[in-house]
Structures are given as structure tokens and as C-alpha cells.
Amino acid sequence: MATHKLENYLRTYRKRSGLTQREVAFLVGCRNGAQVSRYEKRRRLPPLRTALACEAAFGVPVSVLFAGLREVAGQAVGERMLALRSKLETSTAQGRDARIAAQKLRWLAVRRPLPPGNTNTTS
């Protein structure tokens, strides 16, 4: 049985760095250490600015720090891409609209959903 990725790996990277929650809060511009604790325990989702600040602080891509979220989002996008493709394939557009639909279909054929980011967190 394979387990799902954790929603985020903030705690792992923080403990590896040896920093306290308060110090990480200072680095990423949070109010206090309690807010970092909420992010680590998945009680709150950090805003984009904080997530990017975490990437800058730990030197790890957001897709790796938030591997579980990335996995879920990737799957959802993949399913929506399939839905959009079937919708475009069944459309009865003529002329210019048909050409645009064909272009979108070509793009969708090439553009597969990104695989869940390189979640090798051993770095």
C-alpha cells in the first residue's frame, strides 16, 4: 500500500535546518511562530506570498514543499483537461471556430498535465 504525499513538508525542512518556528516566521514574514505551526500542522494554508517566501528560505521548490497539494492539484487539472478535450472533440464548430478548436486540441494533445513535481525531498 502506497501512502499519499503529505500536504506539506514544511516541518521536515525546518527541522533539518535547525531553525525554530519563530525564526522561520521571522524569515518568511509571518506574524509569529504559532502561524508557522498552523501551516506545519495543515490547519491553515499559507498565502502564495508566504509559500514563495518558504521556497526562498529553504531553497526548495514550492511543488516539493507542498507535494501533497501539488499532487491533488495536478490530478484535478488532468481530469479537467480530459473533460475539456472531450468537449472540444464533440463541438460542431465551423470555419474559424473549428480551426481554433483544432489548435486547442493539438495543444491539449501535446500538453499533458505536469507530473507531480520532483518530490525527491532528500536534498
Binding site: 502506497a2 501512502t3 499519499h4 516541518r11 521536515t12 488532468g78 507530473p115 518530490t119
Partner: protein, 152 residues
């Protein structure tokens, strides 16, 4: 599209009479978390009950399996206390559908040192065993006597 296989998360416990150490692994090489939790009684009693701490640890990382060493056989009182904690861990884990495995203490040290009796300080500089042997479900020690039961 191939779905990447996620490695199992394992929580390892070293239960002592008044505290326990823990480590969380994802796959054989990635250490996610580690620490020590205390559950002292009496004058220096901790505020958060042991059951809550164990539940929080299981919820935080949602491991696939919890592994622990069996209680020491030296002192009867320690063995009883440790056995009770292990029983609680097992109960909390089973409520969440997490398996619990208890291994003999000798099996754990044998993995690193073979037949040699090594301390943790001697083990530390050695390379990690490349392939962890798959232990059979081991005996769960009874709190009162040295008898062993199969758990799983």
C-alpha cells in the same frame, strides 16, 4: 499516465517508562520528523495526556505502519509501564487503520551490528543497512509476564 508510487511512511517508536522517542520515515532513506515526548506523572506531570499526544503524532504524519521495540525485560515495573504505553499506541493506531508491529530489541540492534553488541555511538558512523530485512510480526510482550503473543 503513470502514477508515481509514493513510498510508505513509517513511524518508529522507542517507548520508555516515562517518555518515548519517535522518528518518521518516508521510504527507507527520508527522515521526516523526530523527537521525544514525555509523559511524566506526579509533581512534574505533563499537561497534555499521553493518549492525546499519541493521537496527534499519528494524525500529523498518517503513517502506514507504526513500529516499536518490545519493552525491556530487566525491570518488571518498567516492562509493565512500557507495555501499557505500547498497548495504547496499538489501540490508537488501530482506530485509524494503522498497523502496529513490535520487534524484539535484539532484532533492531542485530540489523546494524550483526552478532556484535554495539552501542548507538558505535553504530552511528556505520553506513545504514542497504536493505532492511522484512521482519516477521513479532511478539507483543505481555505487561505482567515475559510471555509473548503474536500481534498484527
Amino acid at each position: 499516465m503513470n502514477k508515481p508510487a509514493n513510498p510508505k511512511r513509517v513511524r518508529a517508536l522507542d517507548v520508555r517508562p516515562r517518555s518515548f522517542g519517535y522518528a518518521v520515515f518516508e521510504g527507507p532513506t527520508l527522515l521526516l520528523d523526530w523527537g521525544v515526548q514525555s509523559f511524566r506523572h506526579g509533581r512534574n506531570a505533563v499537561r497534555i495526556p499521553l493518549a492525546t499526544k499519541i493521537a496527534a503524532l499519528l494524525e500529523d504524519f498518517r503513517p502506514a505502519v507504526v513500529v516499536a521495540k518490545e519493552p525491556p525485560s530487566r525491570k518488571k515495573v518498567n516492562r509493565a509501564r512500557t507495555g501499557k504505553v505500547l498497548e495504547l499506541v496499538r489501540h490508537k493506531a488501530s482506530l485509524r487503520g494503522i498497523r502496529t508491529r513490535v520487534f524484539k530489541r535484539r532484532a533492531a540492534s542485530k540489523l546494524f551490528g550483526g552478532e556484535e553488541r554495539l552501542t548507538k555511538h558505535q553504530i552511528e558512523p556505520r553506513p545504514w543497512p542497504s536493505a532492511l530485512p522484512s521482519f516477521d510480526p513479532c511478539s507483543r510482550p505481555s505487561a505482567s509476564r515475559g510471555k509473548a503473543k503474536i500481534i498484527g
